[in-house]
Symmetry: C2
Subunit: 86 residues, 2 copies
């Protein structure tokens, strides 16, 4: 139960970041390594969850993967747009 709340909190933490970035069209201050390392880590947690047959870990990390990939793509797209407008 506490694991489920923990998973919901850490996974959902990326949602307000996505909304903020979508509004401002800026992710300059965010390090791409944050997303890259988190994507690598969440992939490992996902495999770990599959081996342990732990549905919470599997689902939480699938979502974390999706959110972080979205942020990384947004960062690249917005950075390119900024470059073109210069």
């Amino acid at each position: 139960m506490i694991g489920m709340i923990a998973a919901v909190l850490t996974t959902s933490s990326f949602i307000p970041q996505i909304f903020k970035a979508y509004r401002s069209k800026r992710l300059d201050d965010l390090s791409p390594y944050l997303m890259l390392l988190f994507i690598a880590g969440a992939s490992m947690w996902f495999i770990y969850g599959v081996f342990k047959a732990d549905i919470i870990i599997v689902v939480a990390n699938m979502l974390a993967l999706a959110f972080n990939s979205t942020l990384l793509i947004m960062k690249v797209v917005y950075a390119n747009r900024l470059e073109q407008n210069r």
Copy 2:
């Protein structure tokens, strides 16, 4: 073993963000809710780890807590500095 690699990756993902912010003195594009939700989530994972007597979860989330608190404090400090310079 795979859990340990996963924990190292997701926890360490905040380190490059701290370095980047330290260099640029800017965290404007980072949502404070990312840090706040992650701090709340990592606290829960920490308690979960204590109950499960899982040292990896305990240590990883202690570090994640420290890193995210550092980022949140940096964000507040840099935002105030920017405000004063206006």
